[in-house]
Subunit: 301 residues, 2 copies
DNA sequence: TTTCGAATCGTTCAATTCGTGCATTCGGTC
DNA sequence: GACCGAATGCACGAATTGAACGATTCGAAA
């Protein structure tokens, strides 16, 4: 999974000299590891983060395994939406992935990519489907494609620091939509959390078990449908109490949580969108962009 | 209690060549013992300490594919199954992906990886869950993880030739399981098809539309549950007729298709597993796996 | 215990990367 | 324009890497 690249490869990909790249690594601008013999090894997500932070482009993206043409044009938000809509409704996987990667590389935050591009496009596809302008299979295909785009985004973000605080989450029983919870996971990873989505259709019981077993510092729950409101509220509040006793914050979001339902709910914070969630997550755990330079004078001989 | 590893295993785990690892051991960078005959034996904690000291990024023992239980990283089928089961039930994304990619790189066909490793493990996880040996959230997480592993496999396979014949497929209305159809897609891509999964919960109507619009040469349909058998058979046969008139073959598979149901069904071929499907797909469109090496353009002086 | 396939040994070799020095370019200041 | 510090790209010998190779050792079945 974690693929390593040599300084030469990355330099070629970015379009700079190998010397400069080595200097950047040594200055700590790009986190890297060293082999026993002192050769630098760079990971894809670290490289992408650097490109994003420094506003670099990609001269030869294919060298580090990215689709060609990635990172050469900076798409505007509206045109990105339009193109993504076109690509997703026609099932064009490669274009959809490249578009999202372009946005990511150009510096747009993951939360914004999700909130301002992916979500609206997905919304629009749902509308088109309901109007009959899109066949069912086109909508389903777009849904599938959306999952893949998010997967690609997760690759670009990386798995987060191994020592980061743990966050888990998912959707509740009866709620089959995984896109929101997957997006939440990626946003949290981008914010420095060790986030893992548990998937969909999770009973309250098992979420309690998850808290007891894994001791997360954060749990996110996406709620798009509620069957029995009273039982939902009761179960939810029990879950919140369990979480509190384990020092775990609860983030909720989703269309089903109307204002009056929220009235009776206990939770740490409610988020209307992923930017809110990111802001909250960073408040607890701001990601340190400072990376320690490689200063490892090797043992000679 | 102390677990020993061979240089080959450790090298594979941390992503360097066996030669380098042996040199490091000989230089004293990693403490190791030798057998009477001179074979190196590395202890887990020594390896971990080395990783923590030298390459600061891989401090997590799980990340490097060294679960403390088994000593075999070489993808023997059984040990791969056992390790994957361990990784998936504990939610270890990195190890799961690495295991599958190792199998792929070692030359195992995608169909075999799916049939002989992923599917049995997934089956086993379902059993463990039903027995109560696994929490619901662990099963759901494993399910989610399984999807990601297949994503990674699809990346490794590539998108297939742009001029390949088109194949589309998915699961029918009322059938929420996407794993099988996603695996089918990857197998077909590996076999040279331009395959696209339309996802799950597809009504018969829209599949007809898809055939009429996109003119695929192949459609696969995964059936794990059937509600109304009679309507199913009727609808299916209509779909098959449509497909036939457009020159599109229909592949079916899935537990729900018992022998007596198949009796009344019309289709091009029925597959018990993905190897069967691959064999059929290659009969129509044979293709050798082309491994494209990463060729970096030479620097001119 | 003996046997035998698989794994590991130690070594060599071409290719790559290391660290360093140096000339050049860039942007700001006098 | 002249100056300067910082960053960049290139060149060099020394060191590292990964992939070969035949010889040796391991471990389990006979």
């Amino acid at each position: 999974m974690s693929q390593f690249f040599s300084p030469k490869e990355v330099a070629l990909a970015i379009g700079v000299s190998e010397s400069s790249l080595k200097r950047w690594v040594d200055k700590g601008l790009i986190p890297a590891e060293k082999t026993g013999g002192g050769h630098r090894r760079l990971q894809l997500d670290a490289v992408l983060r650097f490109i994003r932070d420094e506003g670099k482009g990609l001269a030869n993206p294919e060298i580090i395994g990215l689709p060609a043409e990635t990172g050469k044009i900076v798409p505007a938000e509206e045109s990105a939406q339009a193109e993504l809509l076109q690509a997703m409704s026609s099932g064009n996987e490669a274009t959809a992935k490249r578009l999202i990667l372009d946005l990511f590389i150009s510096g747009m935050s993951v939360a914004n990519i999700c909130d301002l591009v992916i979500a609206p496009v997905f919304q629009r596809i749902g509308d088109l489907w309901r109007c009959g302008d899109l066949e069912v299979y086109q909508e389903r295909r777009a849904c599938e494609l959306c999952g893949r785009v998010i997967h690609e985004l997760r690759r670009a973000v990386g798995s987060g620091p191994v020592d980061g605080p743990l966050a888990i989450g998912g959707t509740l029983d009866g709620d089959p939509y995984t896109l929101a919870t997957n997006m939440a996971e990626v946003v949290l990873r981008d914010a420095g959390w060790r986030a893992t989505s548990l998937g969909h259709m999770l009973p309250f019981d098992t979420l309690r078990k998850a808290i007891e077993n894994d001791h997360p510092h954060l749990m996110w729950i996406s709620v798009t449908t509620i069957r029995d409101t009273e039982r939902f509220i009761a179960n939810f509040n029990v879950l919140f109490d369990t979480a509190t006793s384990f020092g775990c914050a609860i983030i909720v979001g989703g269309q089903a949580l109307t204002a009056d339902i929220r009235q009776s709910l206990r939770y740490t914070t409610f988020c209307d969108n992923l930017r809110h969630m990111e802001a909250f997550a960073r408040t607890i755990r701001p990601r340190d962009r400072v990376t320690t330079p490689i200063t490892s004078p090797e043992v000679k001989f």
